[in-house]
């Protein structure tokens, strides 16, 4: 089988990328492992989606459906119940499903849109027993919203990520008792609006700088103990609180799902997503990435925007029109997260022959107010933007006009106080500290 573009994943990223590629003249196949399109949006039945993209408030399934309808009306070919087993640097995709068996598709370009998975209890080494009743928040969401079953009665939630807070509200609405949300950070790790609408409005206590130090129960969870932690993340004796719960939900972060990317030889950046350039092209030419497989987004609207960009570029690539120069070592521009920045997408700029606008997306490590983003290259500030406040839960996105003569070697992205210019040496020292 041959086509122009294969999109791996039929969630919001894959749908928008596929549509953009198709609108730009490419023949597109979308591969989806589930029996329907829409991805995780299908289980996000709460509202709040689409305010940026559609200027109206939609539920997850509604947001997804708008794109699903467009795909259905387009010549895009969708393979459902299908899993991409592997991809190759020369754009072959091996797909498996029960109907066709194993299919090899030769594409001109590939768009990775596989999404992410939840970090688990084991990944953060929470001790205790291992009874039933311990779920990643997203799994509990699936039980309630898709399967129609209650995963418990009395719930403790670890992690104030958006899914955790949304599930606190969801569980409450379904008649479960949510005893509290514990969060290791000194501030909630999800969006402010979710804290207000999902916890505060329902009187659910949020225990900041707390973690679970013990889980009890042999068959089903029987209880859990949380404790406050000190600056070195050690539990403080005497601060323990015991909860008589039968369910513990973990909302402790999302991890881009890049197994087939790694297998194909794509380099992975520090945030877990593929290392991409300003065209969202990975380290393998003609393979692009977008959505949560690239970076975990706060809002699906931004996923859509990013995916459209990837789709357009993939279409250009497939038509031989995307002219990305292979930079010589001297021309190579690396983007580095600096002061208070966790990661930056893209990780590199491959084509800066003339002045151009480049979009950067990133997250800060710590909340700050009255602060600015600074792009620094060669010791000089080449771009500044003010922010009233910045939060780790919110993805920041800027478009910076870059001139070739201003940039040399690397660009450091800092989010710092006014007048404070951090150079690479200081940055290294800060990291060591």
């Amino acid at each position: 089988m041959e086509t122009d573009i294969v999109v791996i994943g039929g969630g919001p990223a894959g749908l928008a990328a596929g549509l953009a590629a198709q609108e730009n003249g490419s023949e597109v196949i979308i591969i989806e492992r589930d029996h329907e399109l829409g991805g995780i949006l299908q289980q996000c039945i709460h509202n709040g989606f689409g305010l940026k993209h559609f200027k109206e408030e939609l539920t997850g399934p509604e947001y997804a459906q708008r794109f699903v309808d467009l795909v259905k009306d387009s010549p895009i070919h969708v393979m459902l119940n299908s899993i991409a087993l592997s991809i190759t640097p020369d754009h072959q995709v091996v797909v498996m499903n029960g109907k066709q068996g194993i299919v090899h598709i030769q594409a001109k370009a590939i768009i990775l849109a596989m999404g992410c998975r939840e970090r688990t209890r084991g990944a953060i080494n929470i001790p205790g027993t291992r009874p039933a009743g311990i779920f990643p928040a997203g799994q509990a969401q699936r039980f309630i919203n898709i399967e129609g079953y209650l995963p418990g009665h009395r719930v403790l939630i670890l992690g104030s990520g958006d899914i955790g807070m949304i599930m606190a509200r969801r569980c409450t609405l379904e008649g479960m008792k949510v005893l509290g949300v514990a969060e290791v950070l000194p501030y909630p790790s999800g969006l402010k609006r979710n804290q207000v609408q999902c916890l505060d409005d329902y009187g659910i206590p949020l225990y900041l700088r707390h973690t679970i130090i013990d889980i009890r129960g042999k068959e089903r969870v029987e209880g859990a103990t949380i404790a406050q932690i000190d600056e070195k993340w050690r539990p403080i004796p005497g601060t323990e609180k015991y909860f008589d719960c039968d369910t513990i939900l973990f909302s402790v972060g999302l991890i881009p799902e890049n197994e087939i990317s790694v297998q194909a030889g794509i380099s992975i950046a520090r945030n877990g997503g593929p290392d991409v350039n300003e065209y969202l092209q990975t380290t393998l030419p003609g393979i692009f990435a977008c959505g949560n497989v690239l970076q975990v987004h706060d809002l699906v609207d931004f996923v859509t925007e990013e995916a459209q960009h990837a789709g357009e570029n993939a279409a250009l690539y497939a038509q031989g029109k995307l002219d990305i120069p292979t930079p010589s070592p001297e021309q190579k521009i690396t983007i580095l997260p600096g002061e208070n920045v966790g990661y930056v997408v893209p990780e590199r700029i491959d084509g800066l022959q003339t002045e151009k606008i480049v979009k950067f997306t990133y997250r800060v490590k710590n909340p700050r107010s009255n602060i600015r983003t600074q792009l620094v290259s060669n010791g000089k500030v080449i771009y500044t933007r003010r922010h009233k406040f910045v939060l780790p839960s919110e993805m920041i996105s800027i478009r910076a006009k870059l001139k070739p003569e201003d940039v040399e070697g690397e660009i450091i992205v800092n989010v710092i106080e006014k007048e404070q210019l951090v150079n690479i040496i200081e940055r290294t020292m800060m990291e060591e500290n």
Partner: protein, 492 residues
């Protein structure tokens, strides 16, 4: 005589009980294997290091020494016969101080006396070659090239399934409440009121073997549960060649950094006596202890752990295995006090129990006429090439439906696991057989789907599908007053 009377009842379907059952299945005996849990290998057998040892650091003349060496040898034949993956990776005991080096030299001599192949190496270059990941601080190693690894529940399940294939009966969720004896016949009563009549009992009840012994008035030993905690790391996060031990102390063999059969690696165990026989909880202190211990041998990758767990060793003050008829009753045979190297010794323990049955219990064994000597394990997608997989999917589309994407497990494999000799009736049973839920997502994506498959294949209400059996329910009532359902669809 009454047909309902069994010749032999084995209490406890851990690796020891299952090995005994598998061994006795060769003969025309009416044997039953009993366990209180919903699956075999639910106690110590499912939470240990999975190492086949070479007799090292056992005391001279003990059963542990003899049966460890004999047991290890028996795996060469048994593993291919029962299709159990087994790899002799070799183990390194590592010394970082002069004192430790002396201990290793001493053990090297002991190993020569035991005729266990070993090699003492104090050349850094050679050490580096054997295990490039070892830290520079390791000045000498004692190499046991024949030490190996396997998945302990793989072995236990295969032993039990092979026994079942050859006529042994298995009764799960049968918790022994008390035992009576009348006219040379034992009656074993379960906590649910079931009864089993039997001539000879083998006590392979692991952590509870003292409790079972007391049921016939035998108070000759007490089990002291010694907990060992472990941390499991993601696949390919450290490519270990060898099982790495520190230099053992009198208390334990120390905290191991070891590879698994599936490319993961683990750190553990520590050793603490605990009060409860169900005390398989991990603790912050314990987890820190094993991370510190493991870090002495290699640099551990940060944030690559996928789970932590604890197992309990069934230790006694005898510090040796107890494999003998009870002094209270010659027809009641202990296979108890099985702590390390219990897994290695399991096959030899079964051999020893067989000898006791012949010698002391008056059994004359006649070979089973229709004995099936081999067991085939399930066909696994990961072992099929593209052509084979294509033809499997053509036969049955469920082969093309991936349920677990971390470990690549298809619906067809899970369906088969629901219908094997020991049918899977909970999600952990499927996990131990096929690994869905053992990967990096730890079941977040696949558990709900596996529940549907079990519901459909075992004709169970969805909410009655548990994690480990008993009351380990994963979901309760339905939302919106929807009715209870047995899943009966195709779309998981």
């Amino acid at each position: 005589m009454n047909n309902n009377i069994y010749d032999i009842a084995i209490i406890g379907a851990g690796v020891v009980g299952s090995a005994i059952a598998q061994r006795l299945a060769k003969y025309e005996l009416k044997t039953i294997l009993l366990d209180k849990e919903a699956d075999v290998a639910m106690g110590t057998s499912k939470a240990n290091s999975g190492i086949i040892h070479q007799g090292y650091f056992t005391s001279k003349g003990t059963l542990k020494e003899t049966l460890c060496l004999r047991g290890s040898a028996l795996f060469n034949e048994l593993c291919p016969q029962l299709d159990v993956p087994f790899k002799r990776t070799g183990a390194l005991f590592c010394a970082t101080t002069k004192n430790e080096l002396k201990t290793l030299e001493g053990e090297f001599k002991n190993s020569q006396e035991r005729n266990a192949p070993a090699e003492f190496i104090d050349d850094r270059g050679k050490i580096k070659k054997l295990e490039p990941l070892l830290k520079e601080s390791v000045i000498a190693v004692l190499h046991f090239p024949e030490a190996g690894i396997l998945v302990p529940w793989d072995l236990t399940i295969a032993l039990a399934e092979h026994a079942l294939l050859n006529g042994v009966e298995l009764k799960l969720q049968f918790e022994v409440a008390f035992i009576k004896k009348n006219d040379e016949i034992f009656t074993i009563h379960s906590s649910e009121g079931e009864k089993i009549q039997v001539k000879t009992i083998i006590n392979a009840a692991g952590l509870y073997s003292d409790k079972i012994a007391k049921m016939i008035g035998d108070e000759s030993f007490n089990i002291i549960p010694r907990r060992g905690q472990y941390i499991m790391f993601d696949k390919h996060s450290l490519n270990l060649q060898k099982i790495l031990f520190p230099t053992p102390t009198v208390v334990s063999k120390g905290i191991v950094v070891g590879p698994t059969m599936h490319g993961n690696f683990y750190v553990g165990p520590n050793a603490n006596e605990v009060d409860s026989k169900e005390g398989t909880n991990t603790s912050i202190k314990g987890l820190n202890e094993i991370l510190t211990g493991g870090s002495k041998l290699v640099d551990l990758p940060l944030r690559k752990h996928i789970t932590n767990f604890a197992g309990l060793r069934a230790s006694t003050l005898r510090h040796d295995f107890i494999i003998e008829p009870s002094k209270q009753d010659g027809q009641f045979i202990h296979a108890a006090g099985i702590d390390s190297p219990g897994l290695t010794s399991s096959l030899a323990i079964a051999e020893r129990v067989e000898e006791i049955l012949q010698k002391d219990c008056g059994f004359t064994f006649s070979k089973r006429t229709q004995y099936i000597p081999t067991l085939s394990s399930q066909i696994r997608m990961e072992n099929l090439n593209e052509e084979e997989l294509k033809s499997k999917i053509a036969e049955n589309p469920q082969w093309g439906n991936i349920v677990c994407r971390c470990e690549m497990v298809s619906e067809a494999e899970i369906v088969e696991a629901c219908h094997r000799q020991i049918p899977c009736t909970n999600t952990d049973m499927v996990k131990r057989r096929l690994r869905p839920g053992m990967g990096r997502c730890q079941g977040g994506f696949c558990q709900a789907k596996i529940m549907k498959i079990i519901s459909r294949e075992r004709d169970m209400l969805y909410e009655k599908v548990t994690k480990t059996g008993g009351k380990s329910y994963l979901v309760f009532n339905r939302t919106k007053n929807l009715g209870s359902e047995i899943f009966n669809g195709d779309h998981l």
